[in-house]
Assembly symmetry: C2
Amino acid sequence: MLASKQKKKKYLSYLIRPRSIALVGASANKSKIGGIIWSYLQSFSGKKYPVNIKQETIDGIRTYNRIIDIPEEVDLAIIAVPAKNVPSVIDDCIEKNVKAAIIISSGFSEIGEQGKKLEDEIKNKISSTNLVVLGPNTLGVYVPSIGLDSMFVVKEKSRRPGKGPIAYISQSGASAVGFMDMAEYHHYGISAFVGLGNKLDVNENDMLELFCDEKDTKVICMHLESIVDGQRLLKLCKKITPSKPVIILKAGRSEAGARAAMLHTGSMAKPSQAMDGAFKQVGIIKANDMLELFDYSRILAYQKPMFGPNVAVVTSGGGYGVIATDYIEDSSVGGGLRMAEISIRSKEKLREKLPGFASVNNPIDLTGNVTDEMFDHAFNVVNEDENVDGILSFPLIQTPLTTDKLVEITEWWFKNGKKPMVPCIIGGSYSEEVIRKLEARGVPVFPDIRRAVLSLRVLYERGKYLMKVKKGEKFKFEKRE
Amino acid sequence: MLASKQKKKKYLSYLIRPRSIALVGASANKSKIGGIIWSYLQSFSGKKYPVNIKQETIDGIRTYNRIIDIPEEVDLAIIAVPAKNVPSVIDDCIEKNVKAAIIISSGFSEIGEQGKKLEDEIKNKISSTNLVVLGPNTLGVYVPSIGLDSMFVVKEKSRRPGKGPIAYISQSGASAVGFMDMAEYHHYGISAFVGLGNKLDVNENDMLELFCDEKDTKVICMHLESIVDGQRLLKLCKKITPSKPVIILKAGRSEAGARAAMLHTGSMAKPSQAMDGAFKQVGIIKANDMLELFDYSRILAYQKPMFGPNVAVVTSGGGYGVIATDYIEDSSVGGGLRMAEISIRSKEKLREKLPGFASVNNPIDLTGNVTDEMFDHAFNVVNEDENVDGILSFPLIQTPLTTDKLVEITEWWFKNGKKPMVPCIIGGSYSEEVIRKLEARGVPVFPDIRRAVLSLRVLYERGKYLMKVKKGEKFKFEKRE
């Protein structure tokens, strides 16, 4: 049993690291699912074989009638044929000793009893084999580092993110489309996307096992509508979270939401009464929607944790500072964050280079006369202040004297500061330009004060958890210096 | 006393509807505040006079040494000279019988005792006159319909919104810059912006009096850091809110935030314990930050109220529907909204034109095969359903079969449906394009599920309030048909 488990774990990796792929249902017709996938598979760096019983060639390439006709080894089969034909394709996969299969096709348990039977039939077929099956009813996988893209949504409308440190697992295909499109726009990079679909075989716990050891993955984020085995999920997360943050959006929290989830994926979502506490216990960061999942995973991937609750707000808009303070001190948003007491020495240092009417209290208000250098100076001072654990950077980007150099300065402190920093920018066209520039440099920017404060809160939650599991002070010291 | 009050109220209108303006401190130097304002005043449709004691001409136009040298009547003086020179300019304004003055200059109570004395001096001067004074320490006013723009932030970085139904009053200049820049980007139109600054004379209650009767203004939104006279504010709002929604962001709600507000504007922010209840009582909609102020004012300006709690979610992304359901049913976000029970007749009608695997329960999931016509059909059905009070439109915009026509369909139902509809779209470049198109047609779009649900909640709060003050059922019937 253990041997089989380990083998299964090994086979899982072929879902995201195959050397060769067969596309069953490959088509020359670009308006068909098998046509879209075949065209996007051309970027795959390994071998790819089109399987189609009706077409002899696709774009001049010879097709195979069945997987078993392919003369070489096949690591991954991507299946895009009508549901009723899938069981026989699975037979072929088993015969050919394919390691992993993705059933893109829909028409299974999500449509009711008849589809459920088809799923059971496939379950039976694979139960005594090592074949791992993802789906059905899924977008499949997307792994930018090897050009693997099984998603049947056209790139013109739905872009794909670049390479990066985040593994993204979603039980909702639709949300995944919106999420990844948004990710590309914000230069949010992923190591792999895996769409779970109906979870006939592969589920979220398998993904935790897979990405736990996957070295390109620094953060795991999951959008789930049901939880297959909560105890196992918690156990796995307890093992993973000391080294990699795990963020989970469990949709279907309300009773009506759970009903909607059941109708949507055919899986029963369990009520979440005790879930929040258990999640927190094992270091899971909870997200309430796609945007939180997006924000928390990118800030945890690109920024260091925060090892105390004290936030310095560095702004050039006095009114911004007041609103930020309200959110930081409101426990329902800040969750225990508080405004740092800027040290007397820091205040003196700030005064050296700031205009007389600037405020050196927290929020530090550099005023509308702020220059790039003043921001640089203020970031320096708060990074050195022992009373400060994290920084909210909130420039009024429309003031006259700051320039493009502020982008560089913000990037530098975001990446090299001792304390974690979260940037917030609000405005229109010019702000959008600045945000695009910063995000292209790997600096996530929040166009919403509340989202920025929530992200700081998550960095602090992460810091508290690490101090707990790594026995506190020593770790704190190590990370700070 | 009453006579003087009425006169003052009349004079207030010269702040936003002057026939002639004198700019004291006008300059030919475009990097000076008086230079920026003079250049933007060129778009003003009335008469404008540059006042500058040092320069003979500005761009070939003859300047005046003092306001009293101007041979014709001056309705509004905009003052942009150093703080210490302001009192003598106020003397001139009184002598010249100017109706309203805006003190742009900073260096008053916000810098401490010395500035406070200057303010008191000006207060004394105007106390026995009808001159109304806005500021000091303010961006002044912006009234797109007459090209009046006293804001000294350059348009390259900080764009100005177009004409529209929203009056925007802000005590924070910085936030106003960010807010209006954002407003322009989202085609949010304003009737007027007024920056309150230090509120030496004119305050938020004067603004409520002014915009109460201002026919271009359908919605009043205010960003306040202090409240001068809470009782009067509530009394005024009670009078206004039955006909015009009032949305207030009271920043400085936390103790630390109130301290920050005091440091920032020199005004003491009162604790807000009982405020929420009192606000609700008189129909004020409360916003927690700039984005909520923005969202609530635009949805109230462009969409009808909601006269019951039942929301129909129309989506093409099953996962989207689940998250939306969670928020609608979560009272901390939905605030009493709930998922509508779609009627049997509506379900039948939906099934007529939807694919078999679509869900006709709520959330209504049109699936990835959705066409423009299916959205049109679904919007029609839920608008006719007696069980539905409002609609969340949440297309997965990346699906292949919908086209640009969906923009027109969404616009039509947004503007002509019997039930209020709030659109939510999430994604990247293509979504941004669609959102830009919809917003250019006057349809606000929310790129965030939580914000969309909060906006529906606000429409429902507004509906409940109107039913209460207008004695319910009759009004409900009128608005629905």
